[in-house]
């Protein structure tokens, strides 16, 4: 502090500045607002946690007792041997249908809407329609599934079958796939596209090499949410022919026949067991909920790992 500054004397306003800078005002508004937000968070978390505790209290013991047997056994009217094996199988099949039908079609539709379609009235109407479809209640899709896949397309689906249920679920989540994909595509900066076109790439080359890789993590995230939704959705399956019984297991039954036969799904089992009057089935229902949650967590985890790998590679 010597040398050049030595010639300067201390500022006489020092005390006044110190007083002005001191934060002595209570900012009541800010504290209140913060407390309010915190309370909102606690309420949301509290509801979730209490639900989880309730489920684990009622079903945890049952699940621990039955162990692997509960995961593999078929549904039964006898609570001591009833299990969710067929439900897990059915739900995974439904997810498979979603992967096979909703994803390719939904992602393709989104690429078309965002990248190729000209901005006409028709495109705008289509866009709005897709957005509204995503908000249509699941039960309405159940009715659609009943009318189209169970009744009209019965010769192909076999009526109340896992094919009808899977296609109904695919139709249900397709608008969500379209929307999340379209949002990810829209988030790709224009500069990246222009750079691609600037070196003489065709539209498809720009989309294939730059737009899709850039949007991929976003598309993946959307897909994760979609799969969870498809796994847990119940209402459309109730209408589209899911039954408590589960898959037919007559010996000599081919794959097509099995797919065209009766089916069940994990959320359907939860729904049906929870309606039973006996206490044992209530416990079984809670145990099935735990299995459902665990599988959804597992699926999400796997999808997140996949996404991260994809991001890094790129």
């Amino acid at each position: 502090m010597t040398g050049r500054t030595a010639a300067l004397r201390e500022s006489p306003a020092q005390d006044a500045v110190r007083r002005a800078l001191a934060g002595n005002r209570m900012q009541l508004g800010q504290i209140w607002f913060q407390a309010l937000l915190m309370a909102a968070l606690l309420v949301a978390l509290g509801v979730l946690v209490s639900l989880l505790i309730d489920v684990f209290e009622r079903g945890g013991q049952m699940l621990a007792q039955r162990g692997v047997d509960f995961l593999t056994a078929s549904t039964s009217s006898n609570p001591t041997i009833a299990g969710v094996g067929q439900g897990i199988f059915g739900s995974l099949l439904i997810v498979l249908f979603v992967l096979l039908f909703a994803f390719p079609v939904g992602i393709g539709a989104a690429i078309y809407i965002e990248e190729y379609a000209r901005d006409t009235i028709l495109t705008r109407v289509l866009n709005t329609a897709v957005r509204n479809l995503a908000g249509v209640p699941a039960i309405v899709y159940g009715l659609l599934g009943l009318a189209v896949f169970v009744i009209i397309a019965a010769s192909f689906t076999g009526g109340r079958s896992v094919i009808a249920g899977g296609l109904t679920m695919a139709a249900l989540v397709m608008p969500i796939v379209v929307i999340t994909t379209a949002e990810s595509l829209r988030a790709v900066p224009r500069s990246i596209r222009e750079a691609g076109f600037g070196v003489g790439a065709t539209k498809w080359q720009v989309i294939r090499h730059h737009v899709l890789p850039y949007a991929a993590p976003g598309i993946f995230t959307g897909s994760i949410l979609t799969i969870s939704r498809a796994f847990g959705e119940t209402a459309p399956l109730v209408l589209a022919g899911g039954v408590l019984g589960g898959f037919a297991t007559r010996p000599g039954l081919g794959v097509v026949e099995t797919l065209q036969g009766p089916y069940t799904a994990l959320p359907l089992i939860v729904f049906n067991w929870a309606r039973q009057p006996s206490e044992e089935f209530r416990q079984l229902s809670a145990a099935a909920i735990i299995v459902l949650l665990a599988i959804i967590l597992l699926l999400n985890g796997a999808a997140i790992l996949l996404r991260n790998r994809f991001e890094k590679r790129w």
Binding site: R118, D119, P189, S191, I192, R193, E194, A195, G196, F197, G198, V199, G200, A201, T202, Q205, H209, H210, Y214, W314
Partner: protein
């Protein structure tokens, strides 16, 4: 190139309102830093690369540039200057049909490239852009490796084989004067480079497809003075082989780094129009039009 660094003036070197009105940017010292800046092409007229005749461009109902007629000569640097919103970028993007990508954009009049109408129905904009490359205002490397940034263009143009691509990548990076800085990290992300390096990478990417023309849309506006100088030196080298058209807001840049200057301004209808085109030295020291004189001397804009 051993170019003595010219004094780099801040981009908005116009005098403030209280400064004497007669202030004039003296570009002669800047020009002298580059001996070959003297209009050598005055002796033999250059071959015409682009010819615009009554060219207008619209975005929807808005006319961005109006009835522009001009010629662009081969293997020289033409700068397009003018106040904001006068359609400089629109004009530049007309040369490689980049405006086609914008919904509702259309043009009238003609743009010929070596005598061929660029907007003729049989012309494929992809082929146009392969020959007429572009460097953008904000450095926009692909979020991929440095190697991939440069190799993408040749690859989509049909170049195959790692050896061929390796050669193109190296020579492009060398010509863009960035090879020494990136040769050890070709697998690193292009987006991890500094702004000036990114822009030189983008120039390397543009020359990797061996274009005939390079369009530059304010390539230095996001760069610091040192990086700007490097890009200008690079342009000077590239003009031996390429025709370069550059849009710039920086009048010093136009003065020191171009052979030919095009000045646009806008009329009451907000459409940009051509005021004057001529050798850079003439436009800056002896403008033929009052508007040009006012602009280059910093009286408006």
């Amino acid at each position: 190139m051993t170019i003595q660094a010219p004094e780099i003036a801040p981009s908005d070197a116009r005098p403030g309102p209280d400064v004497q009105r007669e202030v004039r940017i003296d570009i002669r010292p800047m020009m002298q830093t580059k001996p070959d800046v003297q209009p050598t092409h005055a002796a033999e007229p250059a071959e015409v690369v682009f010819k615009l005749t009554y060219f207008s461009a619209w975005y929807g109902t808005f006319r961005a540039v109006k009835e522009i007629s001009l010629d662009i000569g081969a293997r020289r640097i033409t700068s397009i200057i003018g106040p904001s919103g006068t359609g400089k970028s629109t004009l530049l993007r007309a040369f490689n049909r980049m405006n086609d990508l914008i919904e509702g954009a259309r043009v009238s009049g003609t743009v010929t490239y070596h005598g061929v109408d660029l907007y003729a129905p049989e012309v494929d904009p992809v082929e146009v852009r392969r020959r007429i490359g572009m460097v953008f205002q904000k450095p926009n490397p692909f979020p991929k490796t440095i190697y991939e940034n440069v190799a993408f263009g040749p690859r989509v143009a049909g170049v195959r084989g790692k050896k061929n691509l390796d050669e193109i990548v190296e020579s492009s990076l060398r010509r863009a004067a960035i090879w020494d800085e990136v040769k050890d990290k070709l697998d690193g992300l292009g987006t991890a480079l500094s702004g000036g390096q990114q822009q030189r990478l983008c120039i390397a990417r543009a020359i990797a497809v061996s274009p005939d023309v390079i369009l530059m849309d304010e390539p230095c506006s996001a760069l610091d003075p040192i990086a700007t100088l490097r890009i200008e030196e690079l342009m000077w080298e590239l003009k031996q082989n390429y025709t370069i058209i550059i849009v710039t807001h920086n009048m010093q840049q136009a003065a020191r780094a171009s052979d030919e200057t095009v000045f646009l301004t806008m009329g009451d209808d907000r459409a940009g129009y051509l005021v004057e085109q001529g050798p850079t030295a003439q436009v800056f020291t002896n403008p033929q039009n009052r508007l040009t004189e006012d602009y280059v001397s910093g009286r408006f804009g």
